[in-house]
Each structure stands twice: as structure tokens, then as C-alpha cells.
Symmetry: C2
Subunit: 397 residues, 2 copies
């Protein structure tokens, strides 16, 4: 048995993969054993999932095999699902095995936050993985095919997106582009198809620049999106949703993008949580656990105004880099570095050739914002896989 | 009001379209008014539907716009659905109108014959139209996507084809080719997918050359098809089928190819029928109705051994040509011609590059039979649409 420290990273999302890549680079030979655990043998680019979900891009372009990203001579990879985290024993129980650790990085994805709305967990779909977006795409196409056999069932042609945050807005943008294609493919009259975007907050993209929000809603409305802003979903059933004013919208397709909470395994492990998330210390560690770093969806941090940062790819990536730095420092008995989120801005696509965004303090809209979104995606591919990955996947973006 | 005779053709399938095309050629100017009625504005190539149903070809390649086939200066086309045939008034009631006729050609398609098997009409799909095959294709893909979200539900990956006649055999051949593609697309282990072909008769392709049947079953078995021959489906439910020996096969996908009966409108019109079909006279006319020709699926004729001819594209086409000839003769007060079916043979595909068939008294198997099948399809395109249609659709076959 070696006495070098064992680092186990749970999850190969934005946070976990960056931790792994940085450790791979910074650790010297035999300085630590690093094991990356992930449910799938691929990493997926969550910010690109709205496209395969709508069917405007192939899901293959939203994933990368982990073996293409990590150096398996330096990092072990275990494809398995985490069942339990036992902090008292320093063990992680997997579906098919057990791993012990000295240091743990929890980078697993969160879960849809349904705010207790009845039926949402059971009957709505979410944009959260390759499998889930393939289901959404196939589900939508299937409704067109079903409608043609039961032409009185126009409810098959009504699509409801719950939540007008970034995921919801980007998804309706793609789906609005896809609907005319589906209408042609299945000989369906476009005027029969309804695409709703329902948001309980008084505005779409709450907190985002109001001028850009207005521009974005205008673009999407012209593409045929029906907005119901300031309207809460009260209930979801297999037959549709009931909204705030009691109106029933009949549909077989509800996609919920209304929020993310922490992974249930975090609570089950005994960490103190708020909506499933752990308020980490300035070094990204779980309170009371110097050897456990929590990054990404399960990590709770507050900005200067005392509001929690929303879980984004951007913050998860920065946390991944920081946790790797602090792990190396801890192993070498060097001082840890305080984490501070540096907001580079946010850009949202609104379907083909359209977008809105703020980057480096400047506002963008239209074609420029759409390009910026592509550049951000390309930059990410470059960060995780270098030029070869940009060339392999980037051409499709 | 003109006093030239009115000919109404119901259905633009193999029989109806051939009647229309031949009338268009043979009738002189002002000799008759011809109206073709069809539910869709396109004709479809039923013998090609097994491919888009399995997803191995685009449904567009199995249909042709009727406006590309008929000369609208010579033949009127009405896109509508027939609701009722009133022989006493010489009228056809459409969903959105009424047509009166002097001569009527009934060329509408039949309906699936379910032999009273409980649940089959409600829960099984059929390969019978562009809409139905798009539903089958989307349904199958959807099951793969659903399985990935509910990995304990291996029943989603079980596909049941009821009937091992020509349609059933050709469809399982295509689906067996498609399954490995779907497994790759959705990351599904091929060994979890089950494809059953269940036939009540003691042999697949009953009545066909036994040596070729054996060859065909061997090819399909190697592709992974599980045959249950001499096994009746006793019941079909949303959860699968129960077969002869009481065994339950759990599945969400049952495609019934077990037989065709006549269209219900024929019985409702008061014609005497057997399984919904009318035993026509030697000139293809309904007994007691000198002005009504019945061709294709609704027409019943017996061979020299006293057995009914199965409803095939081949016999429907020959009947279309013959009914056009007899209509022209009737209008010109010339003697009618007796119809005799001339069997040119039968070729069945077994998926890519494989087939079996008998043509002009010679047996074919393997690649040669597959080619022969393609040649027959090309010949059909040439008959209905000439070289332009062969070039437009034929390259995809």
C-alpha cells in the first residue's frame, strides 16, 4: 500500500473535469493518486444541451469521451454511479465498488428544483444530460407523428417550457427554429403548434439587463414563442399544466428549466445544506471537513450583495481550477488561496444567428451576441481539450 | 350542365393511380369527366413503406405528389376523405362535399385484419401510410430514449412484429439492420434489444417456395430476429402480447402486419362482402352494379385453385389498367375485356443487400434478389412517372 494521498473527484462536469485537468498538470509524479468517478464515460457540455434537446444539433456534438481529455497514466477513471458518501470513514460507496480517499472533491451535478409544484417531478422533463435531451428530442418528434394519426389531438402540438432563465430562453429559441422544420417533415400546419414559455418571476431572465431582456423577448415572440411571464405553474399532470389564474394549458410535453438544487446525496451524507447546497468556506471546503471540496451545483457561495451565485458553467470551472490549486497546496503544506468568482459576463443564444449578452461590461445583441456565444463554446473546448478538440467538435457549433 | 359521362375514382393507391393514368391517356377530349379523390395530395409506394417505418429510409422517398403524376388539364383532383358511397343516388359523400358519378372506381385501401384478437386494433401499429410509418419510426426511437432514462425497463427494447407475410418479413429485415445503428446512437447494448417475429401459420411466408423461406429465415435469424412461427398472438395490451402457449412477451411496440381486410365503407355502402371485400365479376365490376369497378384491396378474386388472390401492388396495378380499359370501352359501347391476373412473381427484401424471390418462374436469393427488388421498384416509378420520377426518387432506393 502506498502512503501517498488519495484524491477522489466525484463527477466529470465543468467543475470536476477542470479539477482533474489541473491536478494532472500540477501534481508531480507520485505526489498523489487521483481518481475521477463519473456516471458516464463521457463529459458533456451542458451549455450546449439546449440544441440537441430541440433537435437542432446532434447530441454527439455536446459530449466528449473522458479518455480523450484525461491522461490515464496520471489519473484513474472509474465509470460508476455514486451511491453514498461516508465522511466518517473517508469512503465513497459506488454502485459497484468502494473508494477510499484522503481528499474528496464533490463535483456531481444537482437536481431539478421543482419548488414542490405538484406533478412537476413526475411529468416534466429536464435538460440535464445527454440521455435526457435525447428523450426530449424524441418525445417532441413523437408528438408530431402521433398528431398525424389523431388529428383531433392538437394538444400533442403544444409545447410548454417552464422557466425563462438562461436554459429556458436558449431552449425555446432553438425549439422555435426547429418547429417549422418539424412541420415540414410531418406535414403539419405551423399555426397549430403552440410553444409556451412560462415564468413565475415578473420578468424573463430575472436580474439580467432589462434592455437586452426586452430585445430577446421580442426576437423570440417574432419566432412564435408565447410568453406567460409573472405566471406560476400551479400543477403539472400528464395532460398539461394549470397556471396561476387557473387556466389549463393542455399538452403532452412539459420541459422544466426552472431551477437547480443540490444533489440529494449531499444531504444524505450529513452536510448542512440550503436547497441541497453546502455553503463552502473561502477555500471551497465543506464546513468542518478540511479534506472535502465542494464545487459546482452543490456549492453555495454569496456575492457582495449577499445573494447566492447561480450555478453556472463559468463559476464551476473557476471553482475546479481553484480546488485543484488548493489540493496541491494542501498536499505540499502550503497556504491555500481564497476563491473569488470573477464574472466574465453571460451570453445567451436565441436560436440561429440571434443572441443577447453582457461580456467584459459591454452589451451585445443579435448576430454579434450569437457569435460571442460560439466563441465562448470554442474557448471552453480549447481549455479542456486543446486545439484537437476544437477542430473535432468546434466545427459543429 | 354537360352530358358527358362522369367517372369518379376513389383512392390514389396502386389501382386508382393506374386507372387515372390510363384514362388520361386513352380518353379523347370531352369523352368523359374524370375526378380522382384521395385523402392526401400524394400517392405512396406501399411496397417501400417498410423502410421508412424502420427508419432506414426517408419517408419522402416513399411518396410522390399526385400533381406530379396526373395532368390536371385532363383529370380533376380532389383532396378529401370519403365518408359514404351512395350507390342508389350515384353519389359519393366526402368530408367536405359531394360528388355525383356515372361510373365509379373504388380503389381505396383496406384496413388491418386483426382476426378479432383482443387489443390488437387498439394497441398495435400498422405499416399502411406515410403517417403510420412516421409514427412507427418515431415510436421506436422514442423507446430507446426512454430506456436510457429508465434502465430497468428492458421491455422498452423489445419489438414485436406480428405476421411473417411479405410486409412482416421485409419490415423485420429493415429493423434488424436499423437496431445496431440505434444502439450506437443511444449507447444501448445490442444484446438487450429483442426483435420478435410472430406468425400463427406453420411457416413464414405461407405458400412461398419453402427453400427460399428457409434461406430468408436463416438470413434474418443471423441478423438477430427471434422467430416464433406456428405461434398465435392471443392478446395484445399496452404492456405487450400473450402468445399461444400462454407466454407473455413484454413490449411497448407491437407492429401488426398479419393481414388486410376490405374498407368498412364498402360494407356500409351495402355491397355483399367477404372480410370486407367484394367478389367482382370478370370485368372487375361489383355484382349488380354495371357502373362500379372495384380494384385493389377491396376486390376479391379467386385463382384457378379456388383460393383468393392476396391483395398486392401487382394485382392492383393490373386491375387499374383493366378497369380503365373497360371504362373506355363502356363509354364507347364497345365490348368489355375479361380480367386475368398475370403473376410476374414476387420478390421480398431482407434488409440491406439481401432478398428472396421468384420472378418469371426462376428463384433468386441474396444480393441478386435484393437487386431485383430494386429493379421492380424502379420499374414502378417509370410506369407512373416516367424517367423524371425514376431520376428524382429512384436514386434513393
Amino acid at each position: 500500500m502506498s502512503n501517498i494521498p488519495k484524491i477522489v473527484i466525484l463527477g466529470a462536469g465543468y467543475g470536476g473535469i477542470l479539477t482533474a485537468l489541473k491536478l494532472q498538470k500540477q501534481l508531480n509524479y507520485n505526489e498523489a493518486d487521483v481518481t475521477l468517478v463519473n456516471k458516464h464515460d463521457y463529459h458533456y457540455i451542458t451549455t450546449h444541451l439546449h440544441m440537441p434537446a430541440a433537435g437542432t444539433d446532434n447530441p454527439e456534438n455536446a459530449r466528449v469521451n473522458i479518455s480523450k481529455l484525461i491522461d490515464e497514466f496520471k489519473i484513474d477513471f472509474v465509470k460508476s454511479t455514486v451511491v453514498q458518501i461516508r465522511t466518517q470513514d473517508k469512503k465513497v460507496i459506488l454502485e459497484d465498488g468502494t473508494l477510499s480517499y484522503d481528499y474528496l472533491v464533490i463535483g456531481m451535478g444537482g437536481e431539478p428544483e421543482t419548488f414542490g409544484i405538484p406533478g412537476l417531478a413526475e411529468h416534466a422533463m429536464s435538460i440535464r444530460s445527454i440521455n435526457s435531451v435525447r428523450l426530449i428530442r424524441e418525445h417532441i418528434e413523437y408528438q408530431f407523428a402521433r398528431y398525424k394519426r389523431e388529428p383531433h389531438r392538437t394538444d400533442y402540438l403544444t409545447f410548454i417550457v417552464g422557466g425563462a432563465g438562461f436554459t429556458g430562453i436558449e431552449f425555446v429559441g432553438e425549439l422555435a427554429d426547429r418547429i417549422p422544420q418539424l412541420c415540414r417533415e410531418f406535414d403539419v400546419d405551423r399555426s397549430l403548434v403552440k410553444l409556451y414559455n412560462i415564468e413565475a418571476a415578473p420578468s424573463a431572465l430575472p436580474g439580467f439587463d432589462p434592455e437586452l431582456v426586452e430585445y430577446g423577448m421580442d426576437v423570440l415572440t417574432k419566432k412564435g414563442v408565447i410568453f406567460r411571464i409573472g405566471t406560476a405553474i400551479k400543477e403539472c399532470s400528464p395532460d398539461g399544466v394549470i397556471v396561476g389564474d387557473g387556466e389549463e394549458i393542455r399538452s403532452k410535453t412539459v420541459i422544466w428549466t426552472g431551477g437547480i438544487r443540490g444533489n440529494r446525496l449531499i444531504e444524505e451524507a450529513g452536510f448542512e445544506t440550503m436547497r441541497g447546497r453546502v455553503k463552502v468556506d473561502e477555500f471551497l471546503r465543506a464546513p468542518g471537513h478540511e479534506n472535502i471540496y465542494i464545487i459546482g451545483d452543490n456549492s453555495l457561495m454569496f456575492n457582495e450583495e449577499g445573494r447566492p451565485y447561480p450555478p453556472t458553467a463559468q463559476i464551476a470551472m473557476q471553482q475546479g481550477v481553484a480546488s485543484a490549486h488548493n489540493l496541491v497546496a494542501a498536499i505540499r503544506n502550503q497556504p491555500l488561496k481564497t476563491f473569488a468568482f470573477s464574472n466574465k459576463g453571460t451570453v445567451a443564444s436565441l436560436g440561429k444567428g440571434e443572441g443577447i449578452g453582457v461580456a467584459m461590461g459591454k452589451k451585445y445583441q443579435g448576430r454579434k451576441a450569437a457569435w460571442l456565444k460560439k466563441l465562448i463554446d470554442l474557448r471552453y473546448l480549447f481549455i479542456i481539450g486543446g486545439i484537437p478538440l476544437v477542430l473535432r467538435k468546434g466545427k459543429f457549433l
